[in-house]
Amino acid sequence: MALAFDEFGRPFIIIKEQESKTRLRGLDAQKTNIAAGKAVARILRTSLGPKGMDKMLQSPDGDITITNDGATILEQMDVDNQIAKLMVELSRSQDYEIGDGTTGVVVMAGALLEQAERLLERGIHPIRIAEGYEMASRIAYEHLEHIAQKFEFDATNTEPLIQTCMTTLSSKIVNRCKRSLAEIAVKAVLAVADLERRDVNLDLIKVEGKVGGKLEDTELIYGIIVDKDMSHPQMPKEIQDAKIAILTCPFEPPKPKTKHKVDIDTVEKFRTLRQQEQKYFDDMVQKCKDVGATLVICQWGFDDEANHLLMHRNLPAVRWVGGVELELIAIATGGRIVPRFQELTPEKLGRAGLVREKAFGTTKDRMIYIEHCANSRAVTIFIRGGNKMMIEETKRSIHDALCVARNLIRNNSIVYGGGSAEISCSIAVEAAADKYPGVEQYAIRAFADAMDSVPMALAENSGLQPIETLSAVKSQQIKENNPWCGIDCNDVGTNDMREQNVFETLIGKQQQMLLATQVVKMILKIDDVISPSDY
């Protein structure tokens, strides 16, 4: 208790306003924390795998999200519990680092916690459990490297990449046309990839969505789409061989940063000011025209007069283009972003083969396509779909697929999916456990059991008998010494994941294990929870 007695036997209080705080200590604290972590994992468990279900989330503003992406579910959940927040963080870091496997990592952490609870009940000290887990995860990590395979692909043979992306997409709602989406994702990544350096800058891939049409209409555009229209309705809607001036200065009179006043007190001054103003507009537009631009893309707005002058000089213009889009356009067209009219020179113009405005549906929505760019290293994936939620979910799925393709380009090792890697790790860890003297042995075995939970959840979600299927697959792996046996989620008829073409990236799996172990270790080490009670 946070109550101590001084030398006169009077009690004094250590924690401020103690009575208004709730406090949990020792085993109770650990158990509560574990229960919270498990609760989060339980929510996500049913979303795992190709037959996983979706969650519907209603935000505080009443917007609906339907998804089965672990990171998104957890992020949108209004979580209050501290430990649950840790799990949310866990999923998020997997998302940032790898982009895929966000559900798996939470399920794994949940299973580890569940096993830890049993060990705690047996009286094993939490730190020993944590250490055991650490050892086990190292074994598993190495084992994964051992069973991983190198995947050979190049710009012409993209089939392996597509297959891996399809594995990622098959658990999403878009699995109806996973093949075409996977192809789009791979093409997009290859377009921006730097194969020499094995690096991919995903910022160069823009994912844009528009409701309407159907999922099959989703397309990859080698160029940029901007959700804007020409500033003047009568400007040309299509420009061949455009030379683009990319401006971050408004077509408006200058606004000096220093405070100033222009006092007008005579009629002459009034007149000169007026002429100045006209000349100013004229100069701006003329400057653009002089350097040979045939399209102006501007981050800011235009004054009516400037707009007309642009129109008049036959210089189409787009206004209010966002900063990110502006950068992408600059990259794609090889132009430079120009902050001042004075600095506009012909070399700084971007080039694009075709710029056109396209209208959609019955509303007045228009978008500008910038295609055949000088430097086609920026691409856009344009998603169509029946409703807003569908588009959003497709965006998330595409993002996952892009991440997977990127990871493969960085490191082309893969492991097989369908829970086969986990089962194989489980066997390896189990076998290694006996070599460790001491209490850790139990923790290592528990880790092996926890590994089984991912394939078990897969089997459950696919409507198979979980225990029966898992034990069958496990024995098959040991008997045939074949680490590629997994759960046959889609009822194809074979357990061999090589034949089913179900792959995951090696780094993704390794990251999952490391992150899950780390978070579990952290949770196990907590033995005191102090929280302010309700006010």
Binding site: K31, A35, A36, A39, V40, K51, M53, D54, K55, M56, L57, Q58, P60, G62, I64, I66, Q76, M77, D78, V79, D80, N81, A84, I173, R176, V211, K214, H232, P233, P253, P254, K255, P256, K259, K261, V262, D263, I264, D265, T266, V267, F270, R271, E277, Y280, D303, D304, E305, H308, L309, M311, H312, F360, T362, T363, G386, N387, K388, M389, M390
Partner: protein
């Protein structure tokens, strides 16, 4: 040990069966709500807004009804969303899409209760939807080559669309209006070129299509009321006091006489501007912004018709129609393209004076003037006409046509049924359910018309057993009729969009096994 609070206060979580039930119930409630508006004998709904004025809307347009609802159920919101997308994308079929999605979920619920896994249902629905689409594709009629037939197709589609709306009494009249208007567009889907002006008074029959352009504005006083061979300058410029745009400029004077001087200079400036405008050799000037009295007077002196404060759409449309460009500076009169039209005159519709531009250069644009007893009728008429125009403009681009009156649903249901018989496994239940859901649409149409739906639908099914039947529900006579003879047609694009988005939405809702609702954001009391 139970976790006390995983979520924040008031956030709720529903799982498994309960979540599924909540979404089924919500979606079906929405579908049932709009169900009664389906078909030619569908009923209307009154919507009263909670905003100021408690304005009332009477409508039978699914999208409008759903848009105005305040919905709490998340699944219901999905349905509202698909209806909105349908409206944006093809313009019509907004009710059908919701009803079909609702029926699909109703059937799915039965299957779930019979212990079939949602994933199995989804895969069945997918196969079925694909099969239904192919069945429709086989039966489409495309009359694009034959201009005469194509026009009659358009007429039929317009009449079918309008027959379920308030305009059904005069559907021929309005169908003709809509077809004429769309034909003028010559293939573009730019509905902006069709202007709809609503003027209360008269009857719906008095509505007419005007070849020219009508601007809902008055002509300035003392200016010519009628101009032949008009040269029009369309502008967007300030005609009040021309502000100095350079930042920080301000007028500071130290004596009264200087004020007068500056004022004089200002007037001079405006006069110059007007002179420049007149120097374009125009006799009509239309500005988006206000024109103050002083410049107006100058215009009147020069015999130029000046129209002020035309709204933005009006300006754009006028520029489109007359072929002029919207000008904001006036220094180069020789290079500004002027708009032209044969005649500008002031006309009276009801009690209002309007400006009528006729004999315009570009034949694309036109104006439909709607007349009707009350503003509610006019609003609804506008919505109906908008639906018809949307469908027609989409059909012009994709000229594939189907019969109406429940015929497409019967064709799809038949094909899907056959597929179900051929499919082994649990999936076939789902496929069968899909066909039942499709049949619900003709059933509802018949029910809404007060007919014996069970009898009619079974008769229809028998008719459709034969290949190439064109049987559908003839709501007027209350029997099964030949849709080809009755001339009831629908656009393929609309039907396809209904089928695909309804299946997509149903699939989406079926996949959900947990609903997490965050605590609603508290509005701060600003009172």
């Amino acid at each position: 040990m139970a976790v006390e609070r995983l979520f924040k206060d008031e956030a709720t979580e529903e799982k498994g069966e309960r979540a599924r039930m909540a979404s089924f119930v919500g979606a079906m409630a929405i579908a049932d709500l709009v169900k009664t508006t389906l078909g030619p004998k569908g009923m209307d709904k009154i919507l009263q807004s909670t905003g100021r004025g408690r304005s009332v809307t009477v409508t039978n347009d699914g999208a409008t009804i759903l848009k105005s609802l305040h919905i709490d159920n998340p699944a219901a919101k999905v349905l509202v969303d698909i209806s909105k997308v349908q409206d944006d994308e093809v313009g019509d079929g907004t009710t059908s899409v919701v009803v079909l999605a609702g029926e699909l979920l109703r059937e799915a619920e039965k299957l779930v209760n019979a212990k079939i896994h949602p994933m199995t249902i989804i895969s069945g629905y997918r196969v079925a939807a694909e099969c239904a689409r192919n069945a429709l594709l086989e039966k489409v009629v495309d009359n694009k080559q034959d201009a005469e037939k194509f026009k009659s197709d358009l007429m039929k589609i317009a009449m079918t669309t309008l027959s379920s709306k308030i305009l059904s009494q005069d559907k021929e009249h309005f169908a003709k209006l809509a077809v004429d208007a769309v034909m003028r567009l010559k293939g573009s889907t730019n509905l902006e070129a069709i202007q709809i002006i609503k003027k209360p008074g008269g009857s719906l029959k008095d509505s007419f299509l005007d070849e020219g352009f009508i601007l809902d504005k008055k002509i300035g006083i003392g200016q010519p009321k009628r101009i032949e061979n008009a040269k029009i300058l369309v502008a967007n410029t300030a005609m009040d006091t021309d502000k100095v745009k350079i930042y920080g400029a301000r007028v500071r004077v130290d004596s009264m006489s200087k004020v007068a001087e500056i004022e004089g200079a200002e007037k001079e400036k405006m006069r110059e501007k007007v002179q420049k405008i007149i120097a374009h050799g125009i006799n009509c000037f239309v500005n988006r912004q206000l024109i103050y009295n002083f410049p107006e007077e100058l215009f009147a002196d020069a015999g130029v018709l000046a129209i002020e404060h035309a709204d933005f759409d009006g300006i754009e449309r006028l520029a489109l129609v007359t072929g002029g460009e919207i000008a904001s500076t006036f220094d180069n009169p020789e290079s500004v393209k002027l708009g032209q039209c044969k005649l500008i005159e002031e006309i009276m519709i009801g009690e209002d004076k309007l400006i009528h531009f006729s004999g315009c250069e570009m034949g694309q644009a036109c104006t439909i003037v709607l007349r009707g007893a009350s503003s509610h009728v006019l609003d609804e008429a506008e919505r109906s006409l908008h639906d018809a125009l949307c469908v027609l403009s989409q059909t012009v681009n994709d000229s594939r046509v189907l019969f109406g009156g429940g015929w497409p649903e019967m064709v799809m249901a038949k094909a899907v049924d056959e597929l179900a018989r051929k499919t082994p496994g649990k999936k076939s239940h789902a496929i069968e359910a899909f066909s039942r859901a499709l049949l619900a649409i003709p059933t509802i149409i018949a029910d809404n018309a007060g007919l014996d739906s069970a009898e009619l639908v079974s008769q229809l099914r028998a008719e459709h057993h034969e290949e190439g039947s064109a049987a559908g529900i003839d709501v007027i006579s209350g029997s099964v009729g030949d849709m080809a003879e009755l001339g009831i047609s629908e656009a393929f694009k609309v039907k396809q969009a209904v089928l695909l988005s309804a299946t997509e939405a149903a699939e989406m809702i079926l996949r959900v096994d947990e609903i997490i609702t965050c605590a609603p954001r508290r509005r701060e009391d600003r009172m």
